[in-house]
């Protein structure tokens, strides 16, 4: 790029701005990470000695393990179901023109705009009425509702980049609608589908408010964290926080990577 029309002062200010934004966002998380490895009981400066005792304490707490296992199971199921639903909704939008499509799209993308407290309360009221409250299944249902729109948005974006003739070209070359789905639409959307799996899992993994309302005794990890906080302030929370943060970041970064991946030379088997 030409350097001719660039003001160095603006360049430096922009860099500073980006740096400050990241510092602001990540400072609390970094602090939490630092204190999780500090031997002091209370977070205070100067730091005490290095210690992994809080991680050991967390690792030996059966309630944490139970919460983690709930979270992971729920996360996997939610990501699969939400991505499948999201794909269906996105493909419907891509392929068909029908009366009321705008309304259909608005409704499909609505859940993330509802305040989670209201969604949580509504879910609790509804699920208890149909006899589904207080189970892992309740959290799954609630999280699918919350995350499917994300999956849809990601896959829809990918499908919108597809040459509109591609599917018809597959039919023209002898592929039935199912074969075209399997051999053309799914391979084309594959990066977005993988990304949707990771993102929906990350959202489910982190989600607290709705899970708190509907989970009952089957607490997920974020709900367990609140339990800790209500009991006593303990650096164990920093340890769990660090773990949850790293997991979510990993999922989100994976999603970014699959979405950005460039086509590779000579794909040996399509």
């Amino acid at each position: 790029m030409s350097e001719l029309n660039r003001n160095p002062l603006i360049d430096w200010l922009l860099r500073l701005y980006v740096l400050a934004s990241f510092a602001f966002i990540f400072a609390p998380i970094a602090a939490s990470f630092v204190f999780s490895l500090n031997e002091d009981r209370f977070p205070s400066l100067p730091l005490g000695g290095f210690s992994t005792q809080w991680y050991e304490a967390v690792a030996t707490d059966p309630l944490v393990w139970e919460g983690l296992s709930n979270t992971l199971t729920i996360g996997v199921i939610v990501s699969l179901v939400a991505t499948a639903l999201g794909f269906g909704a996105a493909y419907t939008d891509y392929r068909y023109r029908f009366f009321g499509k705008t309304v259909y799209l608005a409704l499909a993308l609505l859940p993330p705009t509802i305040p989670v407290i209201i969604l949580g309360l509504a879910m609790l009221a509804f699920l208890s009425r149909v006899g589904l409250s207080g189970q892992s299944l309740s959290v799954i249902v609630a999280h699918v509702v919350m995350t499917a729109p994300f999956a849809m948005a990601i896959i829809r974006l990918r499908l919108s980049q597809m040459d509109p003739d591609l599917e018809a070209a597959a039919w023209n070359l002898g592929a039935s609608e199912w074969a075209a789905m399997r051999h053309v639409i799914l391979p084309f959307a594959r990066p977005a589908i993988l990304a949707a799996l990771f993102i929906t899992m990350a959202v489910s993994f982190d989600e607290f408010a709705v899970a708190w309302f509907v989970s009952g005794l089957n607490e997920t990890l974020p709900v367990r964290v609140l339990g800790f906080l209500q009991g006593q302030v303990s650096p164990r929370i920093n340890a769990i926080g660090t773990f949850v943060f790293l997991t979510s970041m990993t999922l989100v970064i994976l999603a970014q990577l699959v979405l950005m991946r460039r086509p590779k030379e000579g794909n040996p088997d399509g």
Binding site: W171, N172, L173, P187, P263, E265, N267, G270
Partner: protein, 363 residues
């Protein structure tokens, strides 16, 4: 099958909502012919092709392929492969996998698929690109992949939807000869949709000219060029001079027509017209003589002012305007033009021999 046409459109109409994209289309396409369907955008040419490919269902009428009705046959059950304007190559498959696609969909085994794909890639001289990613090919190479992908099942018919429109002029001409040669070697039917007169006229055995969902004229390229059947065709081709007037008298073999630009002579009395009828005459631009002095008696001549020139390769088109405002054009070689030294604003005589005028048949 004998002389039975490969494709028959029998009173086919296609409506989208209230709009008729194709209206009462009757067309037969013979085995092994190169047919071009030509017209401006929205004339129904692409809809016609898509109906044949099974991507649109006709609203009325019947389409037959080898005598059998195919109106309701889904696209994947016909062997009517198409080369798309966008090419529609599968970006997640490499060249060989793209070509193998239709064989794979037909359940043909890996070894056989590979052999047939390699065969077609060699035939189109892109054998060495087999394992390449589509994204790394040039426009002409992608074109060849699209052709190989469509032809690998050895169909009876190939549909082409403006396949060359994305190529630069040089490559376009080269691909035209590739296509024409291929069609001759394979002996299969090509149905080629285009808005480009040069593509249609240089490759096709027969050209169909469409306008507003209807066929204006079907015929061999030279026949359409010399004897346009309707005023639309004459104007669409853009190479003829058109004069509208009334037939005044038919003397012996000849006849005369009164037009706002003057009285014009015809070599023969036009069939189906009586004295006093309105007639439209078309004179091809390459039949026009431009002279500084009044030409021989017996030839037609209209005095006109030079409005401008346009150069295309070895020929130039001279645009002229008669005193009454009638626009005319003449296609001349540069050598011809040098003789009269043309300047804008200059007055010249636009002349032609009576036998070179073509009278459009009665509507």
């Amino acid at each position: 099958m004998g002389d039975r046409p490969l494709v028959e459109f029998d009173h086919v109409t296609k409506r989208f909502g209230d709009m008729a994209a194709v209206e009462d289309l009757n067309l037969t396409i013979a085995k092994g012919e190169f047919l071009a369907i030509m017209g401006s955008s929205g004339c129904g040419k692409t809809t016609t092709l898509r109906m044949l490919a099974g991507l649109e269902a006709p609203s009325e009428g019947e389409i037959r392929l080898q005598g059998a009705r195919i109106n309701d046959l889904p696209s994947w059950r016909r062997d009517t492969p198409m080369v798309w304007q966008s090419l529609a190559l599968f970006p997640f498959l490499n060249v060989r996998e793209n070509v193998e696609f239709s064989l794979r969909m037909r359940g043909i085994g890996g070894a056989e698929r590979r052999r047939r794909a390699a065969d077609w890639l060699d035939r189109l001289q892109i054998g060495e690109l087999a394992e390449r990613n589509i994204a790394h090919l040039s426009g002409g190479q992608r074109q060849r992949v699209a052709l190989a992908r469509s032809l690998v099942t050895e169909p009876e018919i190939l549909l082409l939807d403006e396949p060359l429109s994305a190529l630069d002029a040089h490559l376009k001409v080269r691909m035209q000869s590739v296509l024409a040669d291929l069609q001759r070697q394979l002996g299969i039917t090509f149905v080629y949709v285009t808005h480009s007169q040069s593509e249609a006229f240089s490759m096709a055995d027969r050209v169909v000219i469409m306008s507003r969902g209807r066929i204006e004229q079907i015929g061999a390229p030279r026949e359409i060029y010399r004897t346009p059947r309707t005023r639309f065709v004459a104007e669409f081709l853009g190479s003829s001079n058109i004069f509208a007037g009334t037939l005044v008298d038919a003397i012996g073999d000849g006849a005369q027509v009164d037009t706002p630009s003057g009285r014009l002579r015809l070599a023969t009395s036009p069939e189906g017209f009586a004295t006093g009828d309105a007639v439209v005459i078309a004179v091809p631009g390459d039949r026009i003589e431009l002279t500084a002095t009044l030409p021989d008696a017996g030839d037609n001549a209209i005095e006109a002012t030079v409005m401008g020139e346009e150069f295309v390769g070895a020929t130039a088109t001279v645009y002229l305007e008669a005193a009454d405002g009638t626009e005319m054009r003449a296609q001349k070689s540069h050598a011809d033009l040098e003789k009269i030294d043309i300047r804008t604003g200059q007055k010249l005589f636009v002349g032609w021999r009576p036998e070179h005028a073509h009278v459009l048949p009665p509507a």
